[in-house]
Symmetry: C2
DNA sequence: GTAGGGTTCTTGCGTGTGCAAACACTGATA
DNA sequence: TATCAGTGTTTGCACACGCAAGAACCCTAC
C-alpha cells in the first residue's frame, strides 16, 4: 500500500488547509489582541453592520456564519451579554427574532474594522500582487461553486 | 461608515473560507457515510500510515494535525478505544509515547483511502483542470509561507 | 551525584458547538 | 373556524477542544 501520497490533489488540499488555518489564526489573534473581540463575535458585528437596519434574522445570520441555529443562538447570547447586540421581535412573524447592533456594538465594530483590514492587507495582500489575488479568488470561487453544485445544499455545519 | 466591503481582499478571504468550509464539509460527510470514520480519526490513521513504522510521537502528530497536545492525547484515546491505534512506549525517552497503527487500523485506513481519493477527485480536481490546480496550490503556498514568515511560528491551535 | 531547568505527555476544568426535542407560531386546507 | 404539517428559535445534553497544572523524565552544570 503506497501511502506517500505525492498526488497533486492531496497537495492542493493540504495547502488549502494550511493557508486557511494560518491566515484565520493570525487574523483572530491580532483582532483579539487589539480589540478584545473573538473571531465569531467580530463576524456577528460585521454582518449586522453591513445589513440594512443593522439587523438580521437569527436564521439568516446562522446560515451566513455556517453555524447551526443553536450555535448561533448561544453566540448571540454571549455577544448580547457583552452589550454589543440586542434581540428584537419580528413585527411580521411572531416566531422570528432579529439580532440588532447596539450603539456600543457599532462603536466596537468601527474600532475593530481597521484592525481587520490591516491584517488582511499585511497577511493576504502582502503575499500576492493584485492580479494574483484576483486569480486566487477566481479559482477558489470555482471550487466552492463546484462543490455546492455536486453536493446539493447540505454544506452547512459540521466543524 | 461604509461597511459594504467590496474590497478585493475581503472577497478573497471570503472565498477562502467558503471553499475550505464546503470542501472539508462534503469530504467529511462522504467519508463518514462510507466508512464510519470521523475526519480527525481518518487523519490520524492517514498520518500514521504514511510514517515509518506506522507510528509517530504524540507531539509530532499534534503539530502535524494543528492540535494542542491535550487535544491530541484525547483524540488518540478515542481512536485507541475503537482499536485502530495503540500507544507504545518510547525506547529512548521514557517520557515519550508513540501512537501506532494497529492491524485493524491499517485495514480501516485501506478501506477509507479510496473514498477520500474519490472525494478529492470529484470535488477538487473536478472543479479545476490540472494546470489550474497547480496554480491554486502555488498561490496558496505563497499565502501560507508569507503568513508564517510575518507572524512568527505562533500559528498552531485556536480553532 | 545531585540540583534544577526544560521536555513530553496526561488530566481537571471551562467553553463553544451540534443534534434532537420542545415550544410558539404560520399558512394552507377542509 | 378548526386542523395540522411545516418553520423559526431556544434549551438539554453530549462532546471535542484549549489552557493550565501536574507527573514523570531528560540533560546539563556544578
Amino acid at each position: 500500500m503506497n501511502l506517500i501520497a505525492k498526488d497533486s490533489r492531496i497537495t492542493a488540499m493540504g495547502m488549502l488547509v494550511e493557508a486557511y488555518t494560518s491566515l484565520r489564526t493570525v487574523l483572530e489573534q491580532e483582532l483579539h489582541a487589539h480589540t478584545g473581540l473573538s473571531g465569531p463575535t467580530f463576524e456577528v458585528l460585521l454582518r449586522l453592520g453591513r445589513s440594512p437596519g443593522r439587523r438580521l434574522r437569527m436564521n439568516d445570520l446562522a446560515v451566513e456564519m455556517h453555524l447551526s441555529p443553536s450555535g448561533l443562538s448561544r453566540l448571540v447570547d454571549r455577544v448580547a451579554a457583552a452589550g454589543l447586540v440586542a434581540r428584537e421581535a419580528c413585527e411580521t412573524d411572531r416566531r422570528g427574532a432579529y439580532a440588532v447592533l447596539t450603539a456600543e456594538g457599532a462603536r466596537r465594530l468601527a474600532e475593530a474594522l481597521p484592525v481587520h483590514e490591516r491584517g488582511l492587507e499585511r497577511h493576504l495582500a502582502g503575499a500576492l500582487d493584485p492580479a494574483e489575488l484576483e486569480q486566487l479568488t477566481a479559482l477558489l470561487r470555482r471550487v466552492r461553486d463546484h462543490v455546492r453544485a455536486e453536493a446539493g445544499p447540505i454544506v452547512a455545519p459540521l466543524r
